[in-house]
């Protein structure tokens, strides 16, 4: 009897113990949210929109940015740094020894497609987020504009790219093909044209500065047409941005009276800013999170190395930086006697000769550093790793750029450029702002003006390539015609996929 009871007890016990409960295996993902349950509310849709904007300010963990890569490749700068191997990816751009394993190519390529992916995710999910119609159309317009911006850079920099308008399924991941550049341009134009009517004309600067507006989208479209050499269309777009006369833009754009004010961090979203890449000082970027936070690394990169003020009263309050992208002597000679010199060039050479400061003559030193967005004690962050958290914004497009482009488009389209014409007034408005006398609108004058006005802002290399001058101007740096007009498709993209290297880089595409 006793035994039987024990067996019963044992069986009851076992049957309870041996139940394997499936429910126990469903654990809470604590730190993250499943995609299947996301994008259900307006707030979640906004986070998705922001993720698309995020890519605009993208910097690599190795300090690469679109602006520093293209500047290093231009005739205005050397890569600089501490040694011939400091940020090797910039050095190989500087001397044109880059290959398909270049980190710079992979940064630019990866940045573009990250933006495209996030835009595609947004467009795929937005309908389920319960947004009101007005907000939804605005968000979609912003995302399409951003996607156009990312594709525009990709097609300019790589020419032969895949065109993805939806999220790629894992099963199709390795079967993606490239398309002719025309098709990419067609999508860019379509995205922008669809977006423009749904974008706001202006945004409240304090809370929404940096978000896309109609003016910004028109300016992007104008540039797209410039690259397609559709001069009349380009001029028309720029006219919408710039207005019928300087300072008469329907969007309220005006040149700032004082050129140097453009780089005062207190002047974010000023009247000259058309499309601004926004950074902040409070995201706590650390050495391990470079590239994933919101500080602008350019400010520390371009600062003079081992900078020491000797005469504290006279010395500028630069942060001791890493001496990247010193201006070339050639560039300095061009700007030396231009009114924009002081706001453009940090002339450590003369400061040192005057005994006001000392600094390290690092690799490829010329003594001429970038003034526009150099890090300063007065602008450094108040918390976190100070070197990495500068809140200096960068201009993707500003009004002086679109003024000069309109003049160029008109000139190329065969429109009149004499005194009193639209081209002439726009071109000379840029000069007049810094107190320079008018000059006739010629390609040479436009080219020189763009070089000095927009120095260090990432335009020079694009301009040289667009004008077809890169092979001659950059020959001394090692630029090879028929190769360096575009970047090589990163090696990683070719391995195990159907992507083919461009023929400029030894491929067949």
């Amino acid at each position: 009897m006793r035994k039987n009871i024990f067996y019963i007890a044992a069986i009851v016990a076992s049957s309870q113990l041996f139940v394997s409960c499936k429910k126990q295996l469903d654990v809470n993902p604590r730190d993250r949210i499943l995609e299947t349950g996301y994008y259900k509310t307006p707030a979640e849709a906004l986070t998705s929109l922001i993720s698309v904007y995020d890519v605009l300010g993208n910097q690599s963990s190795g300090y690469l940015t679109k602006v520093n890569i293209l500047s290093a490749g231009s005739d205005d700068h050397f890569a600089g740094g501490d040694s011939p191997s400091d940020i090797g990816d910039l050095q190989t751009i500087n001397n044109y020894t880059l290959t398909s394993t270049s980190g710079a190519a992979s940064h630019l390529w990866g940045k573009g497609f990250t933006g495209v992916y996030r835009a595609n995710v947004f467009l795929q999910k937005v309908n389920g987020a319960g947004l009101d119609e007005a907000t939804k159309t605005r968000y979609i317009a912003e995302v399409k504009t951003l996607r156009a911006i990312y594709y525009f850079d990709l097609v300019r920099l790589f020419k032969n790219i895949p065109l993805l308008t939806d999220v790629v399924e894992p099963s199709a991941m390795f079967d993606v093909l490239q398309v002719p550049a025309d098709q990419v341009y067609a999508l860019i134009v379509k995205d922008l044209s669809e977006a423009i009517p749904n974008l706001p004309t202006t945004v409240p600067v304090a809370s929404q500065g940096g978000r896309l507006t109609q003016g910004a989208a028109h300016a992007v479209l104008g540039k797209v047409y410039m690259w397609q050499q559709k001069w009349a269309e380009a001029a028309a777009e720029f006219a919408l941005v710039n207005g019928p006369a300087p300072g008469a833009s329907t969007y309220g754009y005006k040149l700032l009276p004082n050129f140097a004010d453009l780089w005062n961090v207190k002047n974010k979203f000023n009247s000259e800013s058309v499309l601004e890449i926004v950074y902040n000082t409070t995201s706590d970027m650390g050495w391990g999170t470079v590239g994933s936070r919101e500080g602008n690394v350019m400010s520390i990169l371009v600062g003079p190395r081992n900078y020491v003020p000797v005469n504290a009263a006279l010395a500028p309050d630069y942060i001791s930086g890493w001496s990247f992208l010193p201006f070339t002597k050639d560039f300095f000679d061009q700007i030396h006697f231009d009114p924009r010199n002081k706001a453009t060039v940090a002339n450590l050479d003369s400061l040192e000769k005057a005994g006001i400061v000392t600094y390290k003559h690092a690799y490829a030193n010329t003594g001429y550093f970038i003034e526009k967005y150099a890090g300063r004690n007065s602008t450094k962050a108040t918390t976190g790793q100070l070197e990495l958290n500068f809140g200096q914004d960068m201009y993707e497009i500003r009004l002086a750029d679109t003024y000069l482009l309109e003049a160029e488009a008109l000139l190329k389209s065969g429109a009149g450029v004499g005194a009193g014409t639209k081209a002439y007034t726009m071109f000379n408005a840029v000069r007049a702002r810094v107190g320079l006398n008018p000059l006739p609108v010629t390609m040479d004058n436009i080219m020189r003006e763009r070089r000095l006005e927009l120095a260090a802002e990432g335009h020079r290399w694009f301009d040289l390539v667009r004008w077809g001058l890169a092979p001659t101007v950059l020959a001394g740096k090692g630029f090879k015609a028929g190769r360096n007009e575009i970047f090589p498709i990163p090696e990683r993209e070719l391995a195990n996929t159907k992507i083919v290297q461009s023929k400029e880089w030894g491929g067949t595409k």
Binding site: K3, D26, L34, E35, S85, T99, V116, R118, V121
Partner: protein, 1070 residues
């Protein structure tokens, strides 16, 4: 269930026993917070009667070897009862037993004898040496098995092999001592874990994907957490190497299972043991680096070759300069270990308790490299009645660790700085003229106690900084941990041979760290202008609960055993908090604390929560043998894991193995050549779920932020972290194992194995093309990988007069090969290793082994311009137009017209082809000697000690053999600053060296006091010993140390080398 039990009470009313038991169990029940299991046991026990006690008399006796020398530690057990005793150091035991009762007298390594208790109660027994290994008991997971009937492949390390060894972590106890393991210490920082691979790489990937499963007394402990164990507490370590043994641990067993069993008290006299040693450590080797004159000379030549002006007019003026290695190395780093244990018990209660303490200073930057650990352990069992046992095994450890930060990294740290800093810069700058100038005038430069600044190199910067100054920036910082790992169990045997066991295991850990960052300026890229104090605290509470029901039965010569079990496991139940106080007033670590409030704006806070990992399991094992001649084991386990989606959540892991002992067959004539032979083989399937959480579904991640407006604040953006893969399945490892165990010529034991292990559907998150745009790829079953190998273990034991000799050797051969990748893929570079500007230099290729070196093949050195001119491609153009005589000639493997990345090829494997170990034990009268060594062979090491991206970093003296017109070297290219040919920045064979080594790990000589002397001080045993660790290493490798752990073994970025130590020790038993 409770109701059922209450019914039982009413029926039986065994009140007296009930009270006794509740008293005994009361504490336990409370401590388990009323776990109903225990209540269940208490009640069920009441249903069973008291055992009747027979009339006992005191029995005493002595157990000796055949030569008459006493045998301590022999177990004497009264048959049919649980009564047992063990012999003391003189071989004497005493036990209560009835006249005519049968005593089983057993000792591992000896043939067990049964004697009948005579009327006088005095017994003297001489035991015969048995064939040692085959009478041993082996832990097999949820139980033990006699080694003679084991059919799987299991290697054991026993306590005796570990006694008095200078072992700080359990991994070191295994290195070289068993076959089938590849173990490499991560680095020489005291207390550091090792990389452990059982039978090769089972999975791709980093992280924990290749780490074995550690099971300590039934509690699963992750690879990183195993460091809490005190080696002196270890009774045995068993490595389950084949799937037929591993399958009982199912979904987590594919990387091998290592079962650690801690010591238990034995019935008999109380024994007290102390072991301790004290010693000093020093680096075994220093690198030959250029002195200042040599450095300046090489720099001049390097500049001249680049067409630049020479930086140093008079190199000889610098003299020898600074030897930075002297600044970081400590030639007298002290270490000590103390272990104290008490064990004993009677037939109702046994206890083993111990304390341990280790303190060790590192040999690199000792002020910031030190470690200590204190341990306490209590293992006890209570056996209130014949059919019930309670017990617990509980270990606690507390360790404090100061680490140099970078232990195998080219990015800073004292060692990397010492290797790369120029020898021209002085350690301390004393020249007043220089001190008055930048950089010494910059705020926060650090000064020595005499007020002179530490030298700041104007030549080599970035992460490299004066190591003495660097030490000042980390002084006092430490991390700490408390670990409590243990289990409590109850086992009942309601009817003979049917056992029910319930065990609740837990791991509780608290860990964290305190660090203070002073104001400092080491160089322009290493500086801090804000004092801060950081504190981090983490807690972990993991547990598992296992219930097993087992039954053993003999029917004549048929022996059968079956176990059914159920388990629930939860880990990664962790949470953490950290805070940083900035701008505090403290001026050193010792002044810093959180009581000073720097204001809200200066308080940063962070934290995190672990994602639970839950496994739910059912398992069974059947073993059967006929007359210990025909053997069978079958296992089935079903695991569900929270790491897989609902479609593929459960996995089934079957295995079987068979054995045959021909030496027991009638036809096998007894002979002196093969005394025993067992042939065994098996097949099984195991799994691996160590892929991380939520890989089957895409997660949306934060951190995709941007800034809007003039708020100067980030707005929060989210986007999917990766693509999802709902089809994600288990990674399955299928293994076949064939082997034999033999005793030869009486004195030799030999085991040999062949195995083939294939992992199917290796789980991985492969790098996806960037054009897909997602931050991470979906985790996929991306390929198959196979490991095959042979393993041999040979033992020899002989006693010649008073001379005792024991030799144990083992060797394992391993071949790893990737047999399948996703369609169209010929290689993957995930988890590839990269080095500065070189980019990736390892790659996992189809048909190759895991992460082989991948780079340019070097055909030699161009000696003349004519050679360069004639080295042309199909188009007739020069392949290396930038080359000059003295540059490397790279192989043009793809046959095109230039040398580029597609000319790279596989250059060798970091995985050793073979690993081996050898232990020699010698004893003569009171003297004994242990020599233990281990080695590896057939692997390549990446020698990345020099910072290539720091153009002016110092060199090893082998650069003096570079090519020059006067020294037409054929192996070392010319030195040229701009390196247009990529001699040094392209990864080629130039960076690879043979990784073969043999290391005399331990050499120990001991002397045991004669008993008549030790007795005078009341001790049973007094032994003193001298010992050295890492006395010498045979290797051709030019770095510090050829033993380099990590995801990919053998990547030397300036690894913190292991120390050479000399120690003196004492072992006393009472």
């Amino acid at each position: 269930m409770l109701c059922t039990c209450i019914v039982l009470i009413d029926e039986q009313q065994p009140v007296r026993l009930y009270h006794e038991l509740t008293k005994l169990i009361h504490l336990k029940v409370i401590s388990m917070r009323g776990r109903f299991t225990f209540v269940f046991f208490v009640y069920c026990i009441l249903a069973l009667p008291l055992a009747l006690l027979a009339q006992d008399i005191p029995v005493t006796g002595k157990v000796t070897e055949q030569n008459g020398s006493p045998l301590p530690g022999v177990t004497v057990r009264l048959e049919g009862t649980t009564k047992a005793a063990s012999t003391d150091a003189n071989g004497v035991f005493s036990i209560q037993a009835p006249v005519g009762g049968k005593l089983n007298i057993s000792l591992i390594g000896m043939t067990t004898q049964t004697v009948t208790v005579p009327a006088g109660g005095r017994i003297n027994v001489a035991l015969m040496a048995g064939s040692k290994d085959l009478t041993e008991v082996v832990v097999v997971g949820y139980g033990t098995q006699k080694k003679s009937v084991v059919t799987g492949s299991i290697s054991s390390v026993k306590a005796k092999d570990l006694e008095s060894m200078p072992i700080n972590r359990v991994e070191q106890a295994l290195q070289g001592r068993t076959s089938g393991l590849t173990i490499a210490s991560g680095n020489g920082q005291p207390g550091t874990s090792s990389t452990v691979r059982v039978r090769g790489y089972t999975s791709f990937a980093s992280g924990g994907n290749n780490d074995p499963l550690w099971v300590v007394d039934g509690v699963i402990v992750d690879n990183g957490g195993i460091g809490y164990l005190n080696q002196a507490d270890i009774e045995s370590i068993e490595v389950l190497k084949d799937a037929a043994s591993q399958a009982i641990y199912g979904a987590r067993a594919a990387n091998g299972v290592i079962i650690v069993t801690t010591k238990k008290g034995k019935a008999g006299l109380i024994s007290v043991n102390y072991n301790g040693f004290y010693g000093t450590s020093a680096p075994a080797k220093k690198l030959d680096l250029l002195n200042a004159t040599q450095y300046a000379t090489i720099r001049n030549e390097s500049a001249a070759n680049s067409g630049l002006s020479q930086p140093y007019a008079n190199p000889a003026a610098f003299g020898a300069g600074t030897d930075w290695q002297d600044q970081v190395f400590n030639d007298d780093a002290r270490r000590q270990t103390h272990e104290f244990s008490v064990s004993g018990g009677n037939d109702k209660f046994t206890i083993y308790s111990s304390m341990g303490y280790i303190k060790q200073d590192g040999i690199v930057a000792s002020p910031i490299s030190k470690w200590n650990r204190a341990n306490v352990r209590i293992n006890s069992t209570y056996k209130p009645a014949k059919w019930i046992t309670f017990g617990e095994n509980l270990g606690y450890s507390h360790s404090v660790n100061s680490s140099v930060g970078n232990t195998n990294s080219e990015f800073g740290g004292p060692l990397s700085s010492a290797i790369n800093l120029d020898p021209i810069t002085p350690v301390i700058e004393t020249d007043p003229a220089l001190i008055a100038k930048s950089p010494y005038t910059i705020a926060n430069t650090l000064r020595n106690p005499d007020g002179f600044p530490y030298g700041i190199s104007p030549i080599v910067g970035q992460e490299m900084s004066n190591p003495l100054a660097y030490i000042q920036t980390r002084l006092g910082n430490y991390s700490w941990d408390h670990n409590i790992v243990g289990n409590a169990f109850a086992e009942i045997e309601p009817i003979a041979n049917l056992k029910f066991r319930s065990s609740l295991g837990t791991k509780v850990a608290f860990y964290g760290g305190d660090s203070y960052t002073p104001l400092f300026y080491l160089n322009s890229s290493s500086k801090n202008d804000k004092k801060s104090f950081y504190r981090e605290i983490n807690t972990v509470l993991n547990y598992n609960w296992e219930n097993t029901l087992s039954y053993a039965r003999n029917f004549g010569k048929h022996h059968a055993f079956i176990i059914l079990g159920q388990g629930y496991y939860m880990d990664n139940n962790s949470r953490s908090l950290n805070t940083t106080y900035q701008n505090i007033i403290a001026n050193s670590f010792y002044e810093a604390n959180l009581n000073y409030d720097p204001g809200t704006a200066n308080k940063l806070v962070g934290g995190g929560d672990g994602t639970l990992h839950v496994v739910n399991s059912l398992f069974t094992r059947v073993t059967y043998d006929y007359d210990e001649k025909y053997l069978f084991t079958g296992i089935m386990r079903r695991d569900g894991s929270s790491r897989f989606g609902t479609n593929n959540r459960f996995g089934y892991f079957p295995s079987f193995s068979l054995g045959w002992v021909p030496s027991k067959e009638a036809f096998w004539k007894e002979n002196d050549i093969v005394n025993f032979l067992k042939i065994r083989g098996g097949y099984g399937v195991t799994g691996n779920d160590a892929l991380g959480d939520f890989r089957y579904v895409s997660l949306v991640s934060s951190g995709r932020n941007y800034t809007f407006g003039t708020t100067d604040q980030s707005v929060i953006g989210w986007s999917p972290a990766a693509l999802s893969n709902p089809d994600l399945k288990w990674e399955e490892t299928r293994q076949t194992n064939i082997g034999f165990d033999a005793t030869l010529f009486t004195d030799f034991t030999l085991s040999a194995e062949y195995f083939k292990k294939k992992t199917v559907g290796v789980l991985q998150t492969p790098d996806i093309p960037l054009y897909v745009g997602a931050a991470g790829g979906p985790t996929q079953n991306v390929g198959d990988m196979q490991n095959t190998g042979f393993e041999f273990e040979l033992g020899y034991r002989k006693k010649i007069g008073e001379f005792n000799l024991g030799v144990n050797g083992n060797i394992s051969f391993l071949k790893n090969k990737v047999t399948r990748l996703l369609p169209g893929k010929t290689f993957i570079e995930d988890n590839a290793q990269s080095f500065q500007t070189m980019g990736n230099f390892t790659r996992t290729g189809l048909g190759r082994s895991f992460n082989e070196y991948y780079g340019y093949d070097m055909l030699g050195i161009f000696q003349t311009q004519a050679e360069i001119d004639s080295y042309v491609g199909p188009a007739g153009t020069k392949l290396q137009p930038n080359a000059k005589p003295g540059d490397i000639k790279f192989a043009n493997l793809n046959g095109d017209n230039e040398i580029n990345s597609s000319d790279r090829t596989f250059l060798g494997s970091p995985i050793p082809k073979y690993t081996y170990g050898l232990t020699i034990n010698l004893a003569y009268k009171n003297w004994d000697l242990v020599a233990f060594g281990n080695g590896v062979g057939g692997n390549q090491i990446f020698q990345g000690l020099r910072r290539l991206d720091v153009t002016y970093a110092n060199w090893q003296t082998k650069i003096l053999d570079r090519w020059t017109p006067a020294n037409p070297s054929t192996s070392m290219p010319r030195i040229v600053e701009s390196d247009p040919n990529g001699n040094y920045i392209k990864f080629s064979k130039l960076y690879l060296e043979k990784g073969d080594y043999f290391r005399l790990k331990t050499l120990q000589v001991g002397y045991t006091l004669p008993q008549n002397i030790s007795k005078k001080i009341g001790a049973q045993k007094v032994r003193a010993y001298l010992m050295s660790e890492n006395l010498w290493t045979i290797t051709q490798y030019t770095g510090y140390d050829p033993e380099i752990g990590g995801t990919v073994l053998g990547v030397d970025r300036g690894v913190y080398p292991q120390a050479r130590s000399f120690m003196i020790g004492l072992n006393v038993g009472f």
